[in-house]
């Protein structure tokens, strides 16, 4: 055997050792396809590496993980929620909203199930702002209260990687089951 043959054997052996160590440490390459409405984050060794959009992505299974999510708008609708106002009246309300993931990494970290975030935030904001109001202010300044509600929700959602696309308080009925001033139930809007 000439020197070239020995060199080939030497390099082949070195290559085999290198390949064995490389695949042992890195894992095996796989490919993940994300659809146009999906975004993801690639984690390597448990740490976020980079955000990825739709398309084909190589992931080294064993050391890398592609966590992906749906960025299509999430619809939130609640009806017949009841809140007590500051003057003792009760209000029944309902709202509908749409929110969309704009930062998938923030969304992934925001909760165990990020799709619950818009509903939780909107329910909190609606109840908080309505409870801080009274029957008269709701009748006189309904639009500004709803606007504040939406702005508050927008800020909170942005912190979790969402954008509030729309918010509408479609149902608001003010009444009371106690009649603190002997007033009948009032219908503001529905």
């Amino acid at each position: 055997m000439n020197i070239l043959g020995y060199l080939i054997i030497l390099l082949g052996g070195a290559f085999l050792i290198g390949a064995a160590i490389f695949f042992d440490r890195r894992g095996t390459p796989t490919f993940v396809n994300l659809l146009p409405h999906q975004r993801g984050v690639i984690f390597r060794q448990g740490k976020p590496l980079r955000d990825v959009g739709s398309g084909k992505h190589r992931v080294w299974s064993g050391t890398e993980l592609l966590v992906h999510g749906d960025v299509r708008p999430i619809s939130v609708t609640f009806e017949n929620q009841v809140v007590t106002l500051q003057d003792g009246f009760a209000a029944a309300y309902g709202f509908s909203a749409n929110a969309q993931v704009v930062d998938i990494r923030k969304a992934v970290y925001s909760a165990r199930d990020y799709t619950q975030i818009p509903a939780a935030v909107l329910l909190r904001c609606a109840r908080l702002h309505l409870n801080a109001s009274n029957a008269n202010s709701l009748k006189m300044e309904r639009d500004s209260i709803v606007k504040r509600m939406g702005e508050d929700a927008k800020v909170r959602l942005k912190k979790d990687g969402f954008d509030l696309i729309s918010f509408r308080l479609g149902q608001l009925v003010i009444g009371t089951t106690q009649a603190p001033q002997s007033q009948p139930a009032q219908h503001v809007d529905e």
Binding site: I3, A111, R112, I117
Partner: protein, 198 residues
């Protein structure tokens, strides 16, 4: 000749090459044998792994990639991300006897993954019951009626009470936001206070 300049004879070179290839084959075979029957798990930085060996707690695994033998080792993964929680319209009687209603918004977070894994069957459902019961009992020790807007002090009291209970099972809430609070004016009748909210 090259082997003369390297002080290697063709026989030396052949021996080294053969040895290297042999080592490569042995390495590949030993790696295959070593990882036969073993599983690999990847723990992201928002999760936490608990390694149990033969049923005994061994260690907490930080983010990374791990191999383990499922025949002798178990790895339980705990999700450390917050879980939003709303507790709405809890009706109670405050310390002066006024009927009151409270709603809170908060998040459940794992504080001690090892304790959570061993103390709770369902982290969220079990913690929810603890929070609800604690809020009811802690709120009834507060004065809600007639003190103006005392949400902050009540929220602090609730936070402390809830976290004291949740600490027993390895959970906590980072903050409590009172989203609804109202109490009727207490009506004193024959030495006792009572009121109606709805």
């Amino acid at each position: 000749m090259l082997w003369h300049s390297l002080f290697l004879t063709p026989d030396d070179f052949a021996a080294i090459s053969s040895g290297l290839v042999g080592a490569a084959v042995v390495l590949v075979l030993s790696l295959t044998q070593r990882y036969r029957g073993r599983k690999r798990i990847l723990i992201t930085d928002y999760r936490c792994g608990l390694r149990f060996i033969n049923g005994e707690f061994a260690s907490i695994l930080p983010p990374g990639s791990y191999r383990y033998n499922p025949q002798s080792e178990q790895i339980t993964v705990i999700d450390m991300r917050p879980q939003p929680m709303l507790l709405e319209r809890q009706v109670f009687q405050d310390v002066v006897g006024a009927q009151a209603v409270i709603s809170i918004g908060t998040e459940l977070v794992v504080n001690d993954p090892r304790l959570v894994a061993t103390a709770l069957r369902d982290q969220i459902k079990d913690s929810f019951v603890i929070v609800r019961d604690t809020v009811r009992s802690a709120a009834s020790r507060q004065v809600v009626a007639g003190l103006g807007d005392n949400r902050k002090s009540i929220a602090v009291s609730l936070l402390q009470a809830v976290n004291a209970e949740l600490a027993k099972v390895g959970m906590r809430v980072p903050e409590v936001e009172i989203t609804e609070l109202w109490a009727s004016t207490p009506v004193v009748q024959q030495g006792s206070a009572s009121g109606v909210v709805q």
